[in-house]
């Protein structure tokens, strides 16, 4: 189990199809939810919960996953206006789980360390979204380029 937000290369980047150039396209079980209105936040977290249930997560973990999806989808609306949340099944060497990739072409994050701090926010929130999501997921990777956008990749494994 890794939970390292700063490491650029997570294991399984290629075989799980979550590289930035091809956000899980071509995978039958990947589901891309476009995030443009706040109603899409509800859709994304509901789809995430359904997927988690299908993979076999217990109700508590389904809720935690739905909450993390809600937070990162909310960040897209708050900071980048629009983007996508892509949900996928993970199956690596018998380990099953769910991957969540949130991508936007927004302004990017100027100070990642600050953004990952509990209670810090530049807008409209409690500042718990990123650090909170990182805490509840098994893997969390944030990539951001100023003026280009932000990608958050998260994984939760079934235990």
């Amino acid at each position: 189990m890794t939970n390292d937000g700063t490491s650029p290369a997570q294991g399984g980047r290629d075989d799980d199809g979550t590289s930035p150039a091809s956000p899980e396209r071509g995978r039958d079980d990947a589901l891309c939810v476009s995030i443009e209105t706040e109603g899409d936040i509800v859709t994304a977290r509901q789809k995430g919960r359904e997927l988690a249930a299908a993979v076999g997560f217990a109700a508590t973990d389904q809720t935690i996953l739905a909450l993390a999806i809600s937070e990162i989808a909310r960040n897209i609306i708050a900071y980048a206006t629009r983007g996508t949340v892509t949900l996928g099944r993970l199956d690596e060497g018998g380990r099953r789980g769910v991957s969540v990739v949130a991508e936007d072409q927004g302004p990017g994050i100027a100070d990642v360390d600050l953004a990952m701090r509990d209670g810090y926010s530049t807008a409209k929130s409690l500042g718990m979204g990123l650090p909170g999501s990182k805490r509840v997921m098994d893997e969390f990777e944030l990539t951001t380029v100023l003026g280009k956008g932000t990608t958050v990749k998260m994984k939760k494994w079934l235990r």
Partner: protein, 124 residues
């Protein structure tokens, strides 16, 4: 989908539905502030039993609703937070900070009664 607001005596009851959007919550905040004045309500119960997730925005807005109602002279109790929802909130570090909560509607109404009683004692 607007949140229905029911008047029962001097209490307003808001039953939040599962697919609640941010807009619905913001509207609820405005509706509560308005109805508390119109119905001269002394208490507000917000029932979140059917809510699948309480995220940071929902948490913050519930706090705003409670503080707004308080400034208008009404106490607010949030009822029906489901076990999984509560657990997820704790894991993520979300808190309702000072807003009374109760297990269900019945407990919430009893709590409002108790709060109103305290108020009367102070007045005497």
């Amino acid at each position: 989908m607007a949140v229905p607001l029911l008047k029962q005596g001097d209490v307003l009851i808001a039953s939040i539905q599962a697919a609640l959007t941010d807009q619905d919550l913001v509207r609820l905040r405005e509706d509560v502030a308005d109805r508390v004045g119109r119905f001269r309500s002394r208490g507000v119960v917000i029932d979140v039993t059917s809510l699948d997730v309480l995220d940071s925005f929902a948490t913050r807005t519930l706090r705003a609703i409670a503080y707004t109602a308080k400034l208008r002279g009404a106490n607010t109790v949030v009822v029906g937070i489901q076990p999984d929802v509560a657990f997820a909130m704790v894991q993520l570090g979300l808190a309702l900070e000072g807003i009374p909560t109760a297990l269900d509607l019945e407990e919430g109404l009893a709590q409002l009664d108790a709060l109103a009683g305290e108020g009367r004692h102070r007045d005497q």
